[in-house]
């Protein structure tokens, strides 16, 4: 069996004990993967229950396809992409609810920038500005914001050169600053 794996690069021959080994390997990745999948989903959905649901589905899908994953080191990036896609699907599915929320934000009484800054409304505006970013930039800025992830790690997660990630994060921050510049000006005038 090992000879076959040697002959066929990238192949994995699993016997009866292979399933147990597969589960053990997956279990090793599970705790870290659950946190990552949840955070990625949370960045898109911004709802704890929805994010947990998406993270759970992402982990199950990852487990189902785990035996096909040749490089175990690529697990986190792969899981990240699964969670991202599922979260976007979920977001599209609940678009109606999202629209209602946007309408509610628009209908709310106008606050000045200072009041917004001290309230949760500021986070809402940030979230809205983030949603309007192109997907690639959004993904980069979200992963870069996850605590403990360096640019290099984000580059590994996204399977991109480090320079590309840096560039995307920079551009995303710039676009967000431009979108939210009115808050700064309002503060200055207020």
């Amino acid at each position: 069996m090992q000879a076959l794996e040697a002959i066929l690069p990238g192949s994995r021959v699993q016997g009866e004990s292979g399933t147990a080994e597969l589960r053990r390997e997956f279990e090793e990745q599970l705790a870290d993967g659950a946190s990552l999948a949840f955070r990625v989903a949370m960045s898109v959905l911004r709802n704890h229950a929805d994010a947990e649901e998406v993270a759970q589905e992402a982990l199950l899908r990852a487990y189902r396809g785990f035996h096909r994953l040749r490089e175990r080191g690529a697990f986190r990036g792969w899981l990240c992409r699964i969670a991202w896609r599922l979260a976007l699907d979920k977001q599209r599915g609940t678009r109606r609810r999202e629209k209602r929320e946007v309408v509610a934000v628009q209908d709310a009484p106008a606050l000045n920038a200072e009041q917004i800054a001290v309230s949760n409304e500021f986070e809402r505006h940030v979230a809205k500005a983030m949603d309007e970013l192109p997907e690639k930039l959004r993904q980069a800025i979200v992963l870069a914001a996850i605590q403990g992830y360096t640019t290099k790690e984000v580059a590994e997660l996204l399977d991109l050169p480090e320079g590309t990630v840096k560039s995307r994060v920079h551009l995303a921050r710039k676009l967000m600053a431009e979108k939210l510049a009115w808050l700064v000006k309002d503060t200055a005038h207020g």
């Binding site: 399933t19 949370m42 947990e52 199950l60 035996h67 920079h170 710039k174 510049a181």
Partner: protein, 256 residues
């Protein structure tokens, strides 16, 4: 208010300090822009903090428990894959079986081909049409049962039952190679000719032409005479001796 010229560059400066020497020099003399830069840095800090807070949440411990529970309940991935293939195979087999059954059913419903009494096309040529009361020629005679059920109005429906693959033309028995005139008075026995689809009209015209004498039937039936062929003559192959040829060539070369 900050200078319009530097508004975008102030954002860049807030993101990556010290990258713009001209702006740095301007900031040394413009208090407004310096204040704006401070506000931009504050905004950046808030934005980063908001995004970080957004993704700082941790999943509940119940998430891991649920995932482990579902994994335990699931089959192994390989078996799941095998089951998917099995289900797909069963589905394809069922569809194929249904298709075969449906095709067989359609074939059974199709009318029987070939000469059948009552289903034949009466092949009286147009030249023979004379009497007004004569029934329509070249029309399909419906089967007896159908005719009984549908009566005179059943002609159309009977035409729709014409076999698709081949057609039958009823022609009076031949006399000396020429088909007999297909008149009601003719007592000559009739026979059916199975013709390929779409050629019924052509056959009817040919029969009419043969009956009217416009076509020389004997000439058509006459086999072309075969010319006597002379047996092949086998002539011996003449080959020039090799030595003589070679010696001649060498001799010519020597001369040149």
């Amino acid at each position: 208010m900050a200078c319009e010229r530097y508004s975008t560059r102030l954002i860049e400066e807030a993101l990556a300090p010290g990258g713009d020497a001209e702006l740095t020099a301007h900031l040394a003399v413009c208090a407004e822009c310096l204040a704006e830069l401070g506000r931009q840095r504050d905004l950046q800090s808030r934005i980063t903090g908001s995004i970080a807070a957004m993704v700082a949440a941790e999943p509940s411990p119940a998430l891991l428990a649920r995932v482990r529970q579902q994994i335990a309940a699931e089959e192994t991935p390989r078996r799941a894959s095998w089951m998917r293939w099995a289900i797909a195979g069963a589905t394809v087999s069922a569809l194929a079986g249904f298709a075969v059954w449906f095709a067989g059913r359609a074939l059974l419903r199709q009318p029987v081909l070939g000469p059948q009494p009552g289903q034949a096309v009466r092949g009286t040529p147009p030249a023979q049409r004379s009497a007004k009361n004569e029934p329509a020629q070249n029309s399909v005679v419906p089967p007896t049962g159908v005719a009984r059920k549908t009566g005179a109005n059943g002609a159309k429906s009977a035409r729709q039952r014409t076999p698709r693959l081949a057609q039958s033309v009823q022609v009076a028995a031949a006399q000396d190679g020429v088909p007999a005139a297909n008149t009601p008075a003719s007592s000559a026995p009739k026979f059916n000719v199975i013709v390929p689809p779409g050629q019924r009209e052509a056959v009817l015209r040919l029969v009419a032409a043969m009956q009217s004498g416009r076509v020389d039937v004997a000439g058509l039936l006459k086999q072309p005479e075969q010319q006597e062929m002379k047996p092949l003559e086998i002539a011996p192959l003449k080959i020039t001796p090799l030595d003589e040829k070679t010696s001649n060539g060498q001799a010519e070369g020597d001369h040149k």
